[in-house]
């Protein structure tokens, strides 16, 4: 059985292909969205998901979130005494999802399809793959998120002939894809995106607004506990604004209640520069597919941030019409990953469906160009695989060295669109020895780029004397783990104590209670303190007949306090 996983910046989901079509799997709390948060508990065990999300406010030094943004870099996050790379934190999420699926399916899960933002770079894709390996999953395929959304959308319309655009604004990334659906073929025509634009950025804008308007002193504004509490409150207010016209952010700051009233207009005005950034990728995807907006039959929304009315209005203004809202944008990517799993398993129900994807960016090498008067211009980028080429793709190009009798040719491989290599991302380098007795024309080098369906690149170079190709190994990039490093980290992760899945529900409730306890003052605080102590005693009894009522009791108490105070709600992860 292959599972489909949407490993998101804010939330992650797991789904499987079933006879009835794609199906989402609930976690141990019975929820579909598992927050992409990891925390180290007091006893050193690892907490994942909602419990960790609650602890983001009470134990920010022991908790990590939004680490998808560091994928493909060597940045580490310290949780208590241990430090983790983004791959490892992601692996912990994947492991939790895997266990949820195993509990649901009743058999082990070893293979997965993981979705990545279409605009993820080589290093980010490698990191995602490594995360899967670290979680004990064979990553059969990396699937672009907007393509996954398109699969989920298209599977219902497979007999139709339609052309649509997927507008995928997730927690941390933005992708746009233009697709054509005909005769069961789902063809991605063009993709564009912004790897650093997502729902989390809108929350940061609200944080900033709260700090500015209320003149919060700097030492408070930089306190990590305050930042986490504010972020949670801003997130809740952002969600609130998706349902009602106004919302407020209220926080206890040094014993006083400080608040910010928000309405749609203020949100829209504060986020204007973020909203403006949505335009360019849409324009580019349309340009690259040679289409005008009027030639699209539909706009499909994916990613939780597209729930925001200000985002929907922006989409409506851009296209001059309203987007389709048939599918839940939080779930559509995971559902599409499950469809891909079905395709991969060659499920009979899908044998009339084929999907083709494209390379999101160009890849090529550094070259020297000659100007009209014969002088040389250095540092130019020469793309070998152009962006939006249908994948898998393999292309060869020949290059001649700069000078006669040159002994070596340096091949620098880049990814990007800029005309100069200095503005693109370097993927690696390779030195090719040349026959120094030869003239430059006789010393031509063939360079082959092969880009597979997972979005991973292979580079080979050969010369006339050396027809056996040299391969480029993209290593030494600090953002990418080597096979050996993965093995080492796998051993390290195996030593971690994971909080038992069957006790997750209690642990989550306690984490939530602790969070609320910290936000309260005076009598309310003492009262909740007492409720927590009672629940802990009940847990110690290890008797389900005692625990169950105590759990209900504490849950009711928390709900009561939250609805009767200025605490705001912890965002309800079930949309």
């Amino acid at each position: 059985m292959i599972v489909g996983i949407d490993l998101g910046t804010t939330n992650s989901l797991i789904a499987v292909w079933s006879e009835a079509g794609p199906r989402l799997i609930r976690n141990s709390l019975g929820e579909i969205l598992t927050p992409s948060c990891v925390s180290v508990d007091e006893d050193g065990s690892i907490l994942v998901g909602r419990a960790a999300r609650e602890r983001l406010q009470t134990h920010p030094e022991q908790t990590a979130a939004v680490f998808k943004r560091y994928m493909g870099s060597d940045r580490t996050v310290k949780l208590g005494k241990k430090s983790f790379r983004a791959e490892e934190l992601s692996a912990l999420i994947l492991r939790a999802l895997k266990e949820d699926a195993e509990a649901d399916l009743g058999h082990p899960v070893t293979e997965a399809i993981i979705t990545v933002p279409a605009y993820f770079s080589e290093a980010q894709r490698q990191a995602t793959r490594a995360a899967g390996q670290l979680a004990g999953l064979r990553v059969d395929r990396l699937l672009n998120e907007p393509t996954a959304a398109a699969l989920a959308y298209g599977i219902h319309k497979r007999d139709a002939e339609t052309r649509f655009l997927v507008f995928d604004l997730g927690g941390g990334t933005f992708d746009v894809s233009v697709l054509d659906l005909f005769e069961g073929v789902m063809e991605v025509r063009a993709t564009a995106g912004d790897n650093y634009l997502g729902g989390e950025d809108f929350v940061l804008v609200l944080n900033e607004l709260f700090i500015q308007r209320n003149k919060i002193p700097q030492q408070v504004a930089q306190d990590s506990r305050f930042v986490q509490r504010l972020t949670a409150a801003s997130e809740a207010a952002k969600r609130q604004l998706s349902e009602s016209a106004t919302a407020s952010i209220s926080l206890n700051v040094d014993g006083a209640v400080v608040s910010l009233e928000l309405d749609e207009a203020l949100l829209e005005q504060s986020c204007a520069s973020l909203l403006a950034r949505l335009r360019e990728p849409v324009e580019r995807a349309l340009r690259d597919s040679n289409l005008r907006p009027s030639q699209l039959d539909n706009i499909v929304l994916a990613g939780g941030a597209t729930r925001m009315p200000i985002v929907r209005r922006m989409v409506a203004r851009l296209f001059g019409r309203f987007p389709s809202v048939d599918l839940n944008p939080d779930e559509v990517v995971a559902l599409g990953a499950a469809v891909q799993a079905g395709l991969k398993m060659k499920d009979a129900a899908l044998n009339e469906v084929v999907m083709t994807d494209v390379a999101p960016y160009s890849m090529g090498i550094e070259v020297v160009r000659t100007l009209p008067d014969g002088s040389s211009s250095y540092g130019h980028f020469d793309p070998i695989i152009e962006r939006n080429s249908v994948i898998p793709v393999s292309r060869v190009q020949s290059y001649i060295p700069m000078r006669d009798k040159q002994t070596e040719l340096e091949l620098n491989v880049f990814q990007g669109e800029a005309r100069l290599v200095k503005d693109n991302i370097k993927l690696g380098g390779l030195k090719i020895p040349l026959d120094k007795s030869k003239s430059r024309q006789d010393n031509a080098v063939s360079v082959r780029f092969t880009y597979d369906v997972n979005g991973l690149l292979q580079v080979e170079a050969s010369t006339e004397d050396q027809p056996k190709p040299y391969s480029l190994v993209i290593e030494g990039n600090p953002g990418v783990l080597s096979e050996r490093e993965i093995a080492e980290r796998l051993a390290k992760l195996a030593d971690l104590k994971i909080h038992p899945r069957d006790r997750m529900e209690h642990r989550t409730l306690l984490a939530r209670a602790e969070r609320i306890y910290q936000q309260l003052l005076g009598r309310e605080r003492d009262w909740i303190g007492g409720q927590i102590a009672m629940f802990e005693r009940a847990l110690e009894s290890q008797d389900a007949r005692i625990i169950a009522p105590a759990q209900r009791h504490l849950g009711d108490a928390l709900a009561h306090i939250e609805s009767n105070s200025f605490l705001g709600h912890e965002p309800d992860p079930v949309g």
């Binding site: 395929r141 054509d180 005909f182 005769e183 069961g184 073929v185 335009r279 360019e280 849409v282 324009e283 580019r284 349309l286 340009r287 690259d288 040679n290 289409l291 005008r292 907006p293 009027s294 030639q295 203004r317 851009l318 296209f319 001059g320 044998n351 009339e352 084929v354 083709t356 160009r369 100007l371 009209p372 008067d373 002088s375 040389s376 211009s377 250095y378 540092g379 130019h380 152009e386 962006r387 249908v390 898998p392 793709v393 393999s394 700069m402 669109e417 800029a418 005309r419 100069l420 503005d423 092969t450 597979d452 369906v453």
Partner: protein, 329 residues
């Protein structure tokens, strides 16, 4: 039929095939291939498909198929022709029969034209009133106009971009030397040269011009400063001094040879010729005492020339020596 081209044969189609038939045949063949593990076969199929689609498009256009059947066939059309807005927009062979859509697109185009017109009016007025237009000022002005509510619909910026590109390659006007880098930054021509490719002929010229401009800025600093001064002098109404005329005539001519497209955009076309002619008529009594300089090709940072430095120094020493001997003789 034995003269069926291979790209149709691959799909078991004949010359009567239209785009719909090609797509259907492609879909059928695609389902027989394992893309992931048989990349080569997939690519070969894909190549045939692309060629066949392109063939169908041009074929249909030649046949003058102006009815609705032609609708999907333009999809496969290559950039260039589809993107040249004046033609594409007024194309009577509309994609969708809905006149409504055509009217909407015409409105978008008209709005962009108005806004670009307003921008240019303001920009040229500024260029006429100050000695040097700052790029930041020009960029802010362009951004303000592009941010106009009338420019909100998708595609309006593309039209504005095409208009400005076309204007730049028409030849220099006062201020164009600033409009070029301004437009480059605003439309991301340096970050994504493919945008220029999509602009057809003007884009191709600008692409060359920007490549030349990059070479200019990658030069050795003193070289660049000298050339920058010469460009200013070329653009100026004032006649350069006899010394400058003679000393730099070759440099100026060399620059135009090296940067023909860039010069076309940022300078009036006859300026270099004028300079050289003026230099020619400088009296011999004056010109014989002037050292004529040549255009150099030195880069700011020469990583690759590991022995470029020592060679450079030797040449410089010889040059100093020669100068010394000349001056003393």
């Amino acid at each position: 039929m034995d003269n069926v081209p291979y790209f149709l044969e691959r799909f078991a189609l004949d010359l009567g095939a239209d785009e719909r038939a090609i797509r259907r045949a492609y879909a059928r063949e695609l389902k027989l291939i394992d893309q992931e593990h048989d990349a080569e076969r997939f690519q070969a199929l894909r190549r045939c498909y692309d060629i066949a689609l392109h063939w169908a498009t041009t074929h249909a256009e030649h046949a003058g198929a102006a009815d609705e059947q032609a609708e999907p066939e333009r999809d496969g059309a290559q950039a260039g022709d589809g993107q040249e807005p004046p033609d594409a927009q007024s194309d009577p062979q509309a994609e969708h029969p809905a006149a409504q859509i055509r009217a909407m697109e015409a409105a978008i185009e008209a709005a962009s034209d108005t806004v670009v017109g307003e921008f240019l009016e303001e920009f040229y007025a500024l260029a006429a009133s100050v000695a040097v237009v700052q790029i930041e000022t020009a960029r802010a002005m362009l951004q303000r106009h592009l941010g106009d509510p009338r420019m909100e619909a998708l595609g309006s910026r593309d039209i504005a971009e095409a208009r400005i590109a076309a204007l730049l390659v028409e030849g220099w006007r006062r201020g164009h030397e600033v409009l070029l880098p301004t437009a480059m930054m605003e439309f991301g021509w340096h970050e994504d040269p493919r945008r220029l490719e999509q602009l057809g002929r003007p884009g191709a010229i600008l692409n060359e011009a920007l490549g030349e401009r990059e070479h200019f800025f990658a030069q050795d600093f003193t070289q660049m400063e000298l050339q920058r001064r010469l460009i200013d002098a070329l653009r100026s109404e004032k006649r350069p001094s006899d010394t400058d005329l003679v000393r730099y005539a070759d440099v100026v001519a060399g620059m135009e040879l090296r940067y023909p497209n860039w010069f076309h955009v940022i300078l009036a076309s006859n300026k270099v010729k004028q300079w050289c002619e003026l230099a020619r008529v400088v009296p011999l009594s004056v010109s014989q005492n002037i050292t004529v300089e040549k255009l150099d090709d030195k880069r700011a940072s020469d990583k690759k020339g590991s022995f470029g430095w020592p060679v450079g120094i030797v040449i410089w020493l010889i040059y100093q020596l020669v100068k010394y001997i000349f001056n003393n003789s």
